[in-house]
């Protein structure tokens, strides 16, 4: 059985290994470059400065500019789990069912449930191992960027700890169950993409900032913004009046800084907003919650995966003759 699985999936394994090897080489190269530039330009000392000197600004600009392409390209690694689901997960059952080979495969000495268990265990195991390796590499890769506080936060969250493993498990189990349900490869692939985006996007954009109620601080400008550490995840910046009603940023700026080219937050601007009774309000999630947030997000996708595995087993046992 293990031999059949490895024989059926060896081309895929080869491609996955190849893709991972290329990725790993690229990540190592850019990661080492970034770490050495971080050292050479003295970024660590610059970030620690409270008032940035001009030389530090140039160094920071050079560092961020030099790696802006690599940093923006990293976002696309978010599609890797979907690709895994697409090319490994979706055909797993759908291809057997579509081409009728399941009739032969499932009437051997190995019962169909055992056949499915071995397949699931091997494919999921290899995928999780691969994504754990990639995650370890990415965690190293991000380490200079983590010193910038929460500047790269939404990006780093997706690639650290157990979260990427949970995404990989979800994409694979989604694709396998879609294949079992639809019994045709191409529709199963379409459902995989739709289902992956439909779960990832709302969780990332809508649910994640709400895992715990965010903290809101209000106060005069120049004071309240200094109270939020740079490592925290700033969600929203706005203005409220003393009753706590929202005031439009446009209105505040039009009143207190009409046509002004530079705003000194501590000076006349702050006096003007104070006189109007307007307070700056900053909503954020503190950095010490990130660990919990990772666990919550992992739990969501693991729970979805478990449900999908159960669905697949049920379909294979009961529904497919």
């Amino acid at each position: 059985m293990i031999w059949v699985s490895s024989r059926q999936h060896r081309a895929e394994t080869l491609v996955v290994t190849l893709v991972l090897a290329i990725l790993a080489a690229l990540l190592l190269k850019t990661g080492l470059d970034m770490a050495s530039a971080y050292q050479q330009l003295g970024i660590g000392a610059c970030l620690a400065e409270t008032r940035r000197s001009q030389t530090c600004n140039t160094a920071l600009y050079a560092f961020q500019g030099g790696f802006s392409f690599a940093i923006s390209a990293i976002v696309w690694l978010n599609v890797l789990p979907a690709l895994l689901g697409l090319f490994v997960g979706a055909p797993l059952l759908a291809r057997e069912l579509e081409q009728g080979t399941f009739r032969l495969a499932w009437t051997q000495s190995v019962p169909r449930l055992r056949w499915l268990e071995v397949k699931l265990a091997l494919v999921l195991g290899v995928a999780l191992l691969a994504s754990a390796g990639l995650t370890a590499l990415l965690t190293r890769w991000f380490s200079p960027l983590r010193q910038f506080g929460a500047l790269y936060f939404p990006l780093t969250f997706d690639f650290e700890g157990t979260v990427p493993l949970a995404y990989a498990a979800y994409a694979l189990t989604l694709a396998i169950s879609a294949g079992a349900l639809l019994r045709r490869v191409v529709p199963a692939m379409a459902v995989t993409i739709a289902g992956f985006v439909a779960a990832r996007a709302p969780v990332e954009l809508w649910l994640r900032p709400r895992y715990l109620p965010p903290i809101t601080l209000t106060g005069d400008p120049g004071k309240v913004d200094a109270m939020v550490p740079k490592t925290d995840w700033a969600l929203d910046n706005g203005w409220v009046d003393q009753m706590g009603h929202q005031v439009h940023t446009g209105a505040v700026l039009a009143t207190c800084a009409p046509g002004q080219n530079s705003i000194d937050f501590q000076g006349a601007f702050a006096q003007c907003t104070h006189a109007h009774g307007w307070l700056m309000s900053i909503t954020y999630q503190p950095a010490d919650r990130f660990g919990l947030f990772r666990n919550i997000e992992t739990a969501i996708f693991v729970a979805l995966s478990v449900a999908l595995v159960a669905l697949t087993i049920w379909i294979v046992r009961r529904r497919i003759a």
């Binding site: 491609v15 050479q40 330009l41 003295g42 000392a45 000197s53 001009q54 030389t55 140039t58 160094a59 050079a62 500019g65 030099g66 392409f69 599609v79 690709l83 697409l86 090319f87 055909p91 291809r95 579509e98 081409q99 490869v185 191409v186 692939m189 379409a190 993409i193 985006v197 996007a201 954009l205 929203d236 910046n237 706005g238 439009h248 940023t249 446009g250 700026l253 039009a254 800084a257 009409p258 046509g259 002004q260 080219n261 530079s262 705003i263």
Partner: protein
């Protein structure tokens, strides 16, 4: 023949319409909201001011971005749509027939295989282009507030979803998909090949070629000058950095700066003679769009020609 094409692709067509409708509703709702708050923020007073260093306009832009940045980031996924069309509709077109052996029946009917392919291509490509055209109309309206504020029309999200490039990308993805299917004759392999080929054509054009469709305009300024000369916010800066005594350009300083140096001293110790900015003026936008669309049309024609040849000669 038309009936057969319709019958084989009606579910795909239905899904395409549903996907378009979902995206259309998303774009309409968020677009109306953005246009509305563009008015409320009185951002029209700020046009072109952000790049000139107006910080009240900068703050407004930031406030607007903190509200709609999520939508804009989400919309950065839109350039993946044509690829999905090519992979899920284009690639199986020939591959699935051959893989499931249905081509043996179809190609031995009264209609020749060439005619079968021509009708299929015409209808599928036509429908794909129609869909991308419909979306294009909505997208250009949706993009306009952020373009007016940030002038990011050369940024990938706006550029890739604008005018000729967007339509040509759709054609390219479908053509590459059909070619991959005719070549590999297996659906899953064809879908994989479609993605690889599409990225292999698209990425070099976008990253290496696009900044150099025309020679960028270079401005040099002295190292005493702290800020670069002001450009219009519609201009696209393709590179900026330092020029040494030999006239060589580099984007990085050879050695970093010591802590106690002023910027000017630091540039001098690094042998920098002047700063430079190379940019593409904003009025080249449509020229660039048509050049890039032409490149994709060329690749599409190549892929479609190869598909016809493969179906006529190579597949039995």
């Amino acid at each position: 023949m038309t009936w057969l094409t319709w019958r084989q692709h009606r579910i795909e067509g239905l899904i395409l319409v549903v996907v378009l409708a979902v995206i259309g509703v998303f774009l309409l709702v968020t677009g109306l909201e953005m246009a509305n708050s563009f008015q409320q923020f009185r951002l029209s007073n700020c046009l072109g001011q952000i790049s000139k260093g107006s910080s009240s306009c900068y703050e407004l832009g930031m406030a607007w971005n903190s509200q709609y940045g999520g939508f804009l980031r989400g919309a950065a996924l839109l350039p993946a749509l044509p690829l999905l069309l090519g992979a899920l509709v284009g690639a199986p077109l020939v591959a699935q027939e051959v893989e499931q052996r249905t081509h043996l029946l179809i190609w031995t009917q009264s209609i020749t295989r060439l005619r079968w392919l021509t009708v299929m291509l015409a209808l599928v490509l036509g429908a794909g282009l129609l869909a991308s055209g419909a979306l294009l109309a909505l997208l250009s309206w949706w993009n306009s507030p952020s373009v007016q504020i940030y002038g990011d029309s050369f940024g990938p999200r706006v550029y890739d979803t604008s005018g000729p490039v967007w339509v040509a990308t759709t054609l390219l993805a479908l053509a590459v998909g059909i070619f991959a299917g005719a070549l590999t004759r297996r659906t899953v392999a064809a879908i994989f090949l479609t993605m690889v080929l599409f990225v292999a054509i698209r990425a070099p054009v976008e990253l290496l070629w696009r900044p150099n469709f025309e020679t960028p305009v270079t401005v040099t300024y002295s190292i005493d000058q702290q800020n670069p000369p002001a450009l219009s916010n519609q201009d696209w800066i393709v590179s900026q950095g330092y020029i040494d005594a030999q006239g060589n350009r580099s984007t990085n300083l050879r050695e970093g700066c010591a802590k106690d140096e002023t910027l000017r001293q630091c540039l001098q110790t690094n042998g920098v003679q002047a700063n430079y900015i190379a940019y593409q003026p904003g009025d080249r936008f449509w020229t660039f769009q048509w050049i890039e669309a032409g490149i994709y049309l060329g690749f599409s024609a190549l892929a479609l020609g190869a598909s016809v040849w493969l179906v006529r000669r190579r597949l039995s």
